[in-house]
Amino acid sequence: MADPGLTPRLAIESVWKQFGRRPVLRNASVWAYGGAVTVLFGRNGEGKSTLLRCGLGLLRAGVGVTILGPRRHHRPSLARLAREGLFYLPDRDLFSPQLTVAAQVRGLAARFPESEPARLERIVPEPGLLDRHAWEMSGGERRRAEVGYAGARAPAVLVADEPLRGLAPLDAQAVADYLGTLAAEGCAVLVTGHEARALLDVADHVVWMTGGTTHHLGDRDAALAHDQFRNDYLRHI
């Protein structure tokens, strides 16, 4: 259930999805609030990415609705949601391999005048790195640039699927802090990931996905106090 004291900017609600005969999502819901980071945790294969992809129209759900601001989308399309201020960072390969990252940032600025390319430098300070193609970067550099690109869009809602994937602990912390900064500037941030320590540091709302459905645990402290979440997911953290 959504936090009763807050109005979510993005709501992906009551999603049912099955692959063939195997049910993956059973009435799963997740909400993202303006100025806050919502972290969606769950073991591999529990359906975190599937929930996001269904909510953004990249997969067709059996049942479910996406609400972005005042609008309900029963058949969501990422392009339409993006025009309304959402940015989706997939778990890999955001950039076009044929253009330099700087050229792609220029494209972003040309399309959305409200974008803030300078934000990229907060997380990719290395000079000349953005003049490379994505395939000329290391995995960690590319991921940082992708997260920076998402922030440069200055989105109203950022949905990031495993933004810390493949990052060294120091870089992972920097990216998590960057997501926290975006939220502090008013963005509604919804992220998934397994880097519990770094993500819990910036989490305002924690959602745990298990058995195909979602459990809203509350804030970081409430999540850490949740016995089942601690035993079945976090273990030694």
């Binding site: 990422l78 392009a79 050229a103």
Partner: protein, 122 residues
């Protein structure tokens, strides 16, 4: 008066969503053009194999209208497939460009080149 009436409607329709911003637009047009050339070479190979070397005359450059349209659709579909293969569809969607917009833009180069083959005297 009429202009004032039209402009807000155009704004509400957001016609720009059909077309990607500059660097992506050029990339997409170039890719569709290359795929059209490959498609035409493929057609020429089929003609050569089916009817022999003497059959490849200037007249063979002009396809019939249905074949030209089919080739245009084929190139647009291949371009979309190529974008999916390179995971660029999500990037373009993040820029507000839907798959309809991609197909629309990718069909422009083959359509223009096919029209040229009809205009150039052989």
């Amino acid at each position: 008066m009429r202009r004032a009436f039209l402009l807000p409607n155009l704004g509400a329709m957001h016609p720009w969503w059909l077309v990607p911003p500059p660097p992506f637009r050029g990339l997409l047009l170039r890719r569709a053009a290359v795929l059209w050339i490959l498609g035409r070479l493929m057609v020429a190979c089929f003609v050569l194999i089916a009817e022999g070397p003497g059959s490849l005359t200037a007249d063979a450059v002009r396809l019939g209208m249905p074949a030209s349209l089919a080739l245009t659709g084929f190139v647009a579909a291949l371009t979309l497939l190529d974008l999916h293969r390179r995971h660029e569809v999500i990037l373009l969607a993040n820029l507000g460009v839907s798959q309809v917009g991609i197909v629309f833009l990718a069909s422009l180069p083959p359509l223009a080149f096919e029209a040229l083959t009809w205009l150039i005297p052989v």
